[in-house]
């Protein structure tokens, strides 16, 4: 396997599972942010 192929697999891992992981962490934060916005609204 060449370095180019290794780089491509790495990119696929970052773009697939990596991006999903960021999104999951975002969902966790989103609830807190929405609660905060609702508190501000009140």
């Amino acid at each position: 396997m060449t370095l180019w192929e290794i780089g491509t697999y790495l990119a696929l891992i970052i773009l697939g599972p990596g991006a999903l992981a960021v999104f999951i962490f975002f969902l966790r934060d989103a609830r807190k942010i929405i609660r905060q916005m609702e508190r501000d609204e009140e």
Binding site: W4, T8, G16, V22, M37, E41
Partner: protein
């Protein structure tokens, strides 16, 4: 109907429509919750690391970068990743490690806020004007026009109008919150579609084994055949990161210094992966041309979309178009918001209505966003060589703002108003003069203008793109001159 329009199925169109409807729904949902200008413009300074990663990565990736990077790799190979992208990673790393702490020490809302704090209103307005010009999302609107032209069969002008209308609609409603939340969805869609497309595209051209055995060796030469002079110019252009208005807005909107630093460091990893994915797709398109899977006269900027559309099955094509739209819309909405902010918060308010209420500021900024769209669409329709417009816009921003802003943030001692004013005016003036002279006196060559200077039997070619080499020292000269003039102190550094 062109060949690509015919290759799309009802399912593909349905996916794109669902995606667009979802983006508008997010805007409507957020609109009810945004009550203050700070909430509208910097998300009430509540943005956390995942939100910052998503909005930073997706905002930077417009269609210009996506199509531009694949265009270079289609013609030249991996040099697209090594030479063109890496100076930007370095600039982002420096920003994360050095600049963020300094910026978070002040309650600024925008880049011109920094200028006014240290130098006064004159510098604020000069920098706001340069920033406004830079922020007009002309390239992405043109990209959307081309995409709608290819996929829906609309004229390019109709495409500009449709894309811009959708992007402005949800930005207008929810400001940075709508922008950041849609950016998050757009970020995931962009990354996943690329991750899905790469294996399909590689498979259709016979994988790396075929590519390595049959493509020219230059495709895998990291630095290609670019000269050190050109590389130096690329490093110079990456300096625009240090005064990038969208980056500053996200730093100001971050919950704290740590969140934004982590977001930048993780963002670099994601940027690098996305850049590499786009590079590989460009190379795969070059292989597809050699195998007659794509036409021999394929234009470089269409390489990415063409290789993906011949590789992906029905349904995934729609998903991919939604991903490409995501890349464009996340850029258009972010920069439209900044342009509207420049017009109202940075120029109109300090000059004409200093005591504007928060509600009025919010209302006028929304009007400013629509107003910014008008020159944007006019330029998008008018310009033929739009890449030149981008180089000009980023050069204007860097020449006008880099020296005064960096000096304000990092130079010890007190700043004087004339330092900022002369520095920004000298930088701006030189770029405008240089461009005017080159256009009038220079000769047209390789889609640009050049003047050959001869001195002591040596000759030098001065390209239009070299303006920053002269503008930055000239801006520094203006700054020094301002320091030497009779002092008028503004505030502490």
């Amino acid at each position: 109907m062109n060949a690509l329009t015919q290759s799309l199925d009802f399912l593909d169109y349905a996916i794109v429509v669902i995606y667009l409807a979802g983006m508008i729904a997010i805007g409507l949902w957020i609109a009810r919750r945004v009550k203050t200008f700070e909430s509208f413009f910097v998300a009430g300074r509540m943005m956390t690391t995942p939100l910052l990663i998503s909005t930073l990565v997706s905002t930077y990736y417009g269609l210009d970068v996506t199509f531009g990077a694949s265009e270079v790799s289609f013609a030249e190979g991996v040099v697209s990743w090594f030479a063109y992208a890496r100076p930007y990673y370095l600039a982002l790393l420096i920003t994360g490690l050095v600049l963020v702490r300094r910026l978070k020490a002040f309650p600024f809302l925008s880049l011109p806020d920094i200028a006014e704090h240290f130098y006064g209103k004159g510098t604020r307005v000069t920098i706001a004007l340069a920033s406004f010009l830079y922020n007009l999302p002309i390239l992405s609107i043109i990209g959307m026009g081309i995409l709608f032209h290819i996929t829906l069969g609309l004229s390019e002008t109709q495409g500009y109008l449709l894309g811009a209308t959708i992007a402005v609609f949800y930005t207008l409603l929810g400001g940075i919150w709508a922008d950041a939340l849609t950016d998050t969805v757009q970020f995931v869609v962009m990354c996943l579609t690329l991750a899905i497309a790469i294996p399909f595209a590689l498979q259709i051209v016979g994988g790396f084994a075929w590519i390595m055995a049959n493509l020219d060796a230059k495709y895998f030469t990291p630095m290609g055949d670019i000269s050190y002079g050109y590389l130096f110019a690329l490093v110079f252009t990456s300096f625009s990161v240090f005064v990038e208005p969208a980056l500053y807005q996200r730093i100001f909107g971050a919950k704290d210094e740590r969140s934004v630093r982590r977001a930048l460091l993780l963002g670099i990893v994601l940027w690098a992966a996305y850049d590499w994915g786009v590079t590989i797709l460009g190379i795969a398109a070059a292989a597809a041309v050699q195998q007659n899977l794509l036409p021999a006269d394929l234009e470089g900027r269409q390489a990415l979309i063409q290789i993906v559309l011949i590789s992906l099955p029905i349904g995934l094509k729609g998903f991919f178009i939604a991903g490409i739209l995501s890349a464009a819309m996340s850029t258009v909405d972010s920069y439209l918001l900044l342009s509207g902010g420049n017009l109202v918060y940075d120029i109109y308010r300090p000059l004409f209505r200093a005591r504007m209420t928060d509600a009025a500021l919010l209302r006028w900024t929304r009007i400013g966003i629509v107003a910014a769209l008008i020159p944007c669409l006019a330029i998008a329709v008018y310009f033929k060589r739009i890449t030149d417009a981008w180089v000009f816009m980023s050069t204007v921003l860097t020449a006008t703002t880099l020296i005064p802003i960096m000096a304000a943030l990092f130079l010890p001692g007190k700043r004087r108003s004339r330092e900022g004013l002369l520095s920004s005016l000298f930088g701006l003036g030189l770029v405008l003069t240089y461009y005017a002279l080159l256009t009038i006196l220079g000769r047209e060559e390789k889609d640009s203008f050049v003047i050959t200077l001869s001195l002591f039997s040596h000759s030098w070619d001065l390209w239009r793109e070299y303006s920053l080499f002269f503008a930055l020292p000239f801006s520094a000269l203006g700054f020094i001159l301002g320091s030497c003039l009779k002092p008028r102190e503004r505030s502490d550094s």
